[in-house]
Symmetry: C2
Amino acid sequence: MRVLVAGGDGFCGWPTALYLSVRGHEVFIADNMSRRGWDEELGTNSLTRISTLEDRVARWKELTGREIGVAAGDLTDERYVYETIDRWRPEALVHFAEQRAAPYSMIDRSHAVFTQVNNVVGTLNVIFAIGEVVPDCHLIKLGTMGEYGTPNIDIEEGYIEIEHNGRKDTLPYPKQPGSFYHLSKVHDSHNIMFGCKVWGIRATDLNQGVVYNVETEETASDPVLTNRYDYDGIFGTALNRFIAQAASGSEITVYGEGGQTRGFIDIRDTVRCIELAANNPAERGEFRVFNQFTEQWSVLQLARLVEKVARALDLDPKLVHLDNPRVEQEAHYYKAANTRLMDLGLKPHLLDEETVERLLLTAMENRDHIHPETFAPRVDWRRPHYNK
Amino acid sequence: MRVLVAGGDGFCGWPTALYLSVRGHEVFIADNMSRRGWDEELGTNSLTRISTLEDRVARWKELTGREIGVAAGDLTDERYVYETIDRWRPEALVHFAEQRAAPYSMIDRSHAVFTQVNNVVGTLNVIFAIGEVVPDCHLIKLGTMGEYGTPNIDIEEGYIEIEHNGRKDTLPYPKQPGSFYHLSKVHDSHNIMFGCKVWGIRATDLNQGVVYNVETEETASDPVLTNRYDYDGIFGTALNRFIAQAASGSEITVYGEGGQTRGFIDIRDTVRCIELAANNPAERGEFRVFNQFTEQWSVLQLARLVEKVARALDLDPKLVHLDNPRVEQEAHYYKAANTRLMDLGLKPHLLDEETVERLLLTAMENRDHIHPETFAPRVDWRRPHYNK
């Protein structure tokens, strides 16, 4: 299958590109390298040393003989989108190419506007180009479990049957996103659903949980293929950040009580989910939603797990609770469905001490790349700022 | 009360500004005059002759002695938004300043992207500026009944209580918008709801039905104050367009079967609803939704009403069904709640033959301004275009 991976230089996109390539798919990457630019802007860095995309694909070809096509460009540039899609005529387009950090979107007005324009316009360009140039192409779009928020009822996969005043309908599941970034994903979901309805395009919206772990079999096979590892307070996600904190002798910082419960997924399952979606495409006109996570954890449970494994490695981490910089419930009901990807064959890697230990060892090896001053939350949800 | 009317040069904004001014509120208008520019772009025009905003407010001052402040500018320009809000420090901000035509948003990719960026970024700038500069200001935002689509259950006002698997929650009412314009309003609603939650701003989202009729007591009081009357296939709404068709001896064109049922409202009630919302502000942190329409009609019912009144005026209109350019159900359940504005005191002007007759007479007087070639639907929902 010809697959275009938009955002194929990123944390999820790069492992996905390799995973699909080694399984015989013809893979192309579209990326504007903006993730690397945001590190420059914020003074953050990957805990692992990452090569340029050019070196990555060259090394991949040396090792496997497989070509990965690359076209650098920005999805908000409509000519680039149309030309790239017209040139490669993908059968599936995997769309990771968005600004993906909630705290980044909450820095100030300009970062909020940038995040929404970047994500929404990029996705609009993609659906117009698919509809006009390759209408049979399957759009596989990365959404987030954070679109749902924390309702007091079970979370379903995209839709819910509602009985109301004696009548019934199956409607889009109500969304309560918790940042301008999460909002941008909700906007995307509505736009894509509409594109499916009016133009008959086919789309799968993958509402992904928080991704942890770093390497897949492919990215671990050579140092030049190494994946990025974000650990800072803006791009670092809960488990990976806790591990970097423990490895560097810093405090493990839990926001508020830590009862915030979310869906989590190992990056080795992320790449598998993408292939399952690609191999089982949505119908023409169908907007299909899969919740892409494998298990639920509270933030405090994760912190305690890291603390425990770290102690066994003779580290001495201290677990502390910070004032929560986010506006979110710290104790709440949470039960989300995630059977659709399992039904397609996903066999989850569940989080265990061994995975945490391996991550801790990686982080300890790369300890000199950790800048502990970037752990602290720098973004306050409660105050709007013009520019910061 | 100091009220800033954003979009105060437009079809709803101008009558609202005068209505509030004559009732003793201190009114300011922010507008970029883009609605006038879109007429130039599309070759469309107002059936009535409209004066410049400068002349309008000058005449208003001559007639009433009341000042209306004007600052021309664009809400997507964040400096303009912050400066205008800081200068006038409104207690209520009525936000009409959006691209408001579904067909305009469906012309092609660039109009879709323009509509979403214009509306979403303008509204983001407004909520940031309110949150930072005048946090107590009440945002009164115009949404649309079209955000809900046509679900098979009763439509409530913004929220719905859902019982699911033995648990209950009150959640945002699911949205199924039918154009990139309607989608932009859904995006706005989610963004504003979030602004209320994290910053404690107060907002009322008015999901307005299709507005018909043209003049209010104030706009009718002098020719220079005359309101715009859109009748073309892009900006003209159902009833007003049917009347211009009948007055000019053209066919009354119903899209498809005409069973599409919507909420409708007389513009004389629109202005009253805005004042009711302003006089009864939302609480700090509250995101309140009112459905702003007074009665439900199907498109075919409206067309038949116009046909009947036209015949009594010795016109001889022919009612025809066109292939529907839109993707929408042409026969469906529709029952929407609209009690919250009534509870605040709204006494609706219900649509009757007298109103239709008066509109028909206005249209017949201005018959030489009608360009029948602009009636035809020029925009096809079913095909995406790069540029048209």
